[in-house]
Amino acid sequence: MTEPRQSPHPRVSREHVLHLLTQMIRIRRFEEKCAELYTQEKIRGFLHLYIGEEAVATGVMEAVEPDDAIVATYREHGHAIVRGIPMTKIMAEMYGKQEGCSRGRGGSMHIFDAETRFYGGNAIVGGGLPLAIGLALADKMQKRSRVTVCFFGEGAAAEGEFHESLNLAALWKLPVLFVCENNRYAMGTALDRSESETDIHKKAASYRIEARAVDGMNVVDVEAAAREAVAAVRESGAPRFLECRTYRFRAHSMFDAQLYRDKAEVEAMREQGPIKRLTEWATGTHFIHDDDLERIEAQVAREVDDAVAFAEAGTWEPIQDLTRDVMAEGPEAVQ
């Protein structure tokens, strides 16, 4: 993190600070609960926590409209929550219950939601980028001024699909905002062990895409940068690139011994955690108070509890439905 530590923008309203804080705390507490449920074997498979990176999804999502599209990765609980998918449906999905937003079939890595135009939950690294290109192409061809926001990790920047997709977006002038969540590691591979040019946003120049890096631990900065970028995309129809420098506090997934980084590094980053920083600044300036925090925590705790209760009460999809939706059925289908 070479970026200087910036303080949150002073011109945000109290309500907005409370809102941003609430969003980040919703993600944090939801995921802490998920980690707990994982040890209880309520949640299985892979579980990739976003803890530490909440400012990115939170800040970016402030900038998008309801009919914009979101394409995310397997580390997408946070994005789903702040996008507005009910936590109940997300938690039910984590359990694999049919009340989940993907009918329970996807689990943690495959959150989909048509209502909020949430296009996954894509678990092949780099695989979401072409999809985002296509969604934006459809908007362009249908002359809709919607924006597609595509999240991916810095590890994805090494994939060929990153290169091909950025070129297409710029060549065809497509309304995509690329958001690189640079948390410095791809599983156990540190950025400088996977990229000869570690300034990821500089790569956008190869495609003549305007790009910038922002302190991804500062939600206010992320929001400001995202607002500017989304407005530019919507206005020009052309792509933009935003690198958010952030950090993952937890293991890559639940099977990670974290041999590849120092505990001290993690601790130091925790000190700059997005929730901690915003809280300290806003309470330090008496912008918000301890009872605000208590209220938020209580409200989020209820939301998480409700989500767990909903998931627990959920039902398993009957086995006879296993092959349903492999292909369309019913009137839609073609013989």
Partner: protein, 327 residues
């Protein structure tokens, strides 16, 4: 009904043209489909008629533009993605298998991918090891997609529209040797069903099952067999996924003998699946083991005599059919 003289190439072009005219959500995208006119001249003239937006040349980026087709389909368009030839489709396979084929199921039915992906396939043009694959039968392994192999002018003309109506991804494999095939087509030829295999020739002594580029060799073999007083029935699978078991089994139960002709490499080709299904569904009706005529398991070589030796030919089909009759 009036007929016109046409070619397979023109039939595909007419199908694309009609789809573009009928549905403004349809567009064609791929390498050199526009300014060049298509690597096999299929889309010649369409750029002038429909413009660059809808006849969209792409860079050499198979994965991204196939994925873009998938995304555009999810975004409400009806893209026809042309992956020049099957040989380059491996670069797009992740998008096809991991995105297009899975999204409906893994999203719990929320999203579908009504994309059509066309590509040329097959050997026979002396293009050597990297440009002669026949992988359509291999693609047919993937759940969540439909795989078509038009072998006639009617199907070249008619399958595309039906495929575009399909709410799921459809792959259409056009055997490159067929593009120059001439024939007559009804002036009002239009959409055809894509759910059934077709009996292209009736017979009651042996069933020859095939698809795509091998259909015409197989029909020739049936002709040759007829001269040897063997009445072969020829089934054109048309759709490789899902397979039309009913048509296959009805024929095999009648003839009690079957040979599958498949330009794919023998091991793990579609012919294996068909043989296995016949065993499962009609074993007790068989009077002889199911035979297979496939490509030799070798990267296809450039010289004509070796290429010919590598892929199914009429004499081999005749011989395999005769063997099932113990002749």
């Amino acid at each position: 009904m009036s007929e016109t003289e046409t070619t397979y190439r023109e039939a595909v072009r007419a199908a694309i043209r009609e789809a573009m005219l009928q549905d403004e959500r349809v567009f064609l995208m791929g390498e050199d489909v526009g300014a060049y006119g298509g690597c096999y001249a299929v889309s010649m003239g369409l750029l002038e008629e429909f413009g660059e937006e809808r006849i969209r040349d792409t860079p050499l980026s198979e994965s991204a533009f196939t994925g873009a087709g998938i995304g555009a389909a999810m975004g409400g368009m009806r893209p026809i993605v042309e992956v020049m030839t099957v040989n380059f489709s491996l670069l797009a396979l992740d998008q096809i298998m991991n995105t297009a084929a899975t999204i409906r199921h893994m999203s719990g039915g929320q999203f579908g991918v009504p994309v059509v992906i066309r590509m040329a396939t097959g050997a026979g043009k002396q293009l050597a090891a990297q440009h002669s694959h026949s992988l359509e039968g291999w693609f047919a392994h993937i759940p969540g997609i439909r795989v078509l192999a038009p072998a006639t002018l009617e199907d070249a003309r008619g399958m595309l529209w039906t495929a575009l109506q399909d709410p799921d991804p459809v792959l259409i494999f056009e055997n490159a040797l067929l593009y120059n095939m001439k024939g007559k087509l009804a002036a009002d030829a239009g959409p055809v069903d894509i759910g059934n295999a077709a009996v292209r020739r009736e017979g009651d002594q042996v069933t020859l099952i095939t698809y795509g580029g091998s259909l015409h060799k197989t029909l020739q073999a049936a002709e040759d067999l007829a001269e040897q007083d063997i009445a072969a029935e020829v089934i054109d699978l048309r759709t490789l996924r899902p397979l039309d078991d009913a048509t296959i089994m009805a024929s095999v139960r009648k003839t009690r003998r079957a040979v599958i002709v498949d330009e794919g490499w023998r091991s793990g080709s579609l012919s294996a699946e068909i043989s296995a299904r016949i065993t499962e569904q009609a074993f007790w009706d068989l009077d002889a083991p199911v035979g297979r005529v496939c490509s030799v398991e070798v990267p296809i070589p450039y010289p004509k005599h070796l290429e010919d030796a590598a892929i199914p030919q009429v004499p081999g089909i005749v011989q395999a059919a005769r063997e099932t009759l113990g002749r």
